[in-house]
């Protein structure tokens, strides 16, 4: 088996791996805002229904859906939009460059989720195993 075949066979699986990792990372941000776990000084303990709390709710629900791969594309699309929103209200006003406004993570998340919205969740997901809608 040559390298091209290995890559062709493993690309969909690696898409699932990328999806699961991205979901776990975004879940941290959701959990810390909603539940204060893992505790992170700058984000934890937001007032209920504040802007950050709502962001945390989107990240928690979207992250859980992405993690198991259920309604992957819809969840990823919403999360991608949320990350764009976060970048422009929280990071962009400080500087033009992601290096200085510390928005690199938001940019990368935004485009990873946008890609997952277009590509789906890969084979290791609930979407892949549930019966398809006619």
């Amino acid at each position: 088996m040559n390298l091209d075949e290995i890559c062709t066979r493993w690309t969909p699986r690696l898409l699932s791996v990328l999806r699961i990792i991205a979901a776990l990372v975004i879940l941290q941000f959701g959990f810390t805002k909603l539940f204060g776990f893992p505790y992170y000084e700058a984000l934890s303990n937001q007032p209920v229904l504040s802007l950050y709390w709502c962001a945390g709710a989107i990240e928690t629900i979207g992250g859980l859906l992405l993690l198991i791969g259920l309604f992957t594309r819809a969840a990823a699309f919403v999360l991608s939009g949320e990350m764009a929103f976060a970048y422009f209200i929280d990071h962009a006003p400080h500087s033009l460059f992601p290096l200085q406004n510390e928005g690199s993570l938001a940019v990368l998340f935004c485009f990873v989720f946008l890609y997952i919205a277009a590509a789906g969740g890969g084979p290791w997901s609930i979407d892949a195993s549930r019966p398809r809608a006619a």
Binding site: C7, W10, T11, L14, L15, V17, L18, I21, A22, V25, Q28, F29, T32, P38, Y39, Y40, R73, A74, S95, L96, F97, P98, L99, Q100, S104, L105, V107, L108, F109, F111, V112, L114, Y115, A117, A118, A119, G120, R132, A133
Partner: protein, 137 residues
């Protein structure tokens, strides 16, 4: 046809978009280390070539440029993915700051690592020099 499947035709192009954005972000991290561009960071003022930071900066500039234009994407992404894995575990004081990436400041490294790992397998997509070269040969 489910509405989601209407997105499927754009999948290769979106792969190229993701590749270009990840490449540009990575490139800027390297340029900042070596050339204080686009913004200077005092931590990198006295950078030397044969140090962890110096070599990281070289990998970020060369790898970031290659991935941005999509040339030798798989090889470049493999090296960059490895660099990010090292960066995550090596960065000073990280274990002391906490186990979770959000606490120890390693979230960006984790995400970069897996994005580039995906690019190793997925390749560079249609909007890339790799695709141009394939078409010509």
């Amino acid at each position: 046809m489910a509405w989601e499947e209407k997105l499927d035709p754009y999948r290769p192009q979106m792969l190229s978009v993701l590749r270009i954005m990840a490449g540009l972000l990575f490139l800027s991290a390297g340029l900042q280390k070596w050339f204080a561009f686009p913004v200077a960071n005092p931590n990198f003022a006295n950078i030397t070539l044969f140090s962890m930071l110096g070599i990281a900066g070289v990998i970020e500039i060369i790898g970031g440029a290659l991935v941005t234009v999509g040339l030798f994407t798989r090889c470049a992404a493999f090296v960059m993915s490895g660099e990010m894995a090292v960066a995550y575990w090596y960065a000073s004081n990280r274990p002391a700051r906490g186990f979770m990436p959000i606490q120890n400041g390693g979230t960006l490294e984790v995400l970069f690592c897996f994005v580039f790992l995906y690019l190793v397998f997925a390749g560079s997509g249609p909007w890339s020099l790799d695709a141009l070269l394939r078409k010509r040969s």
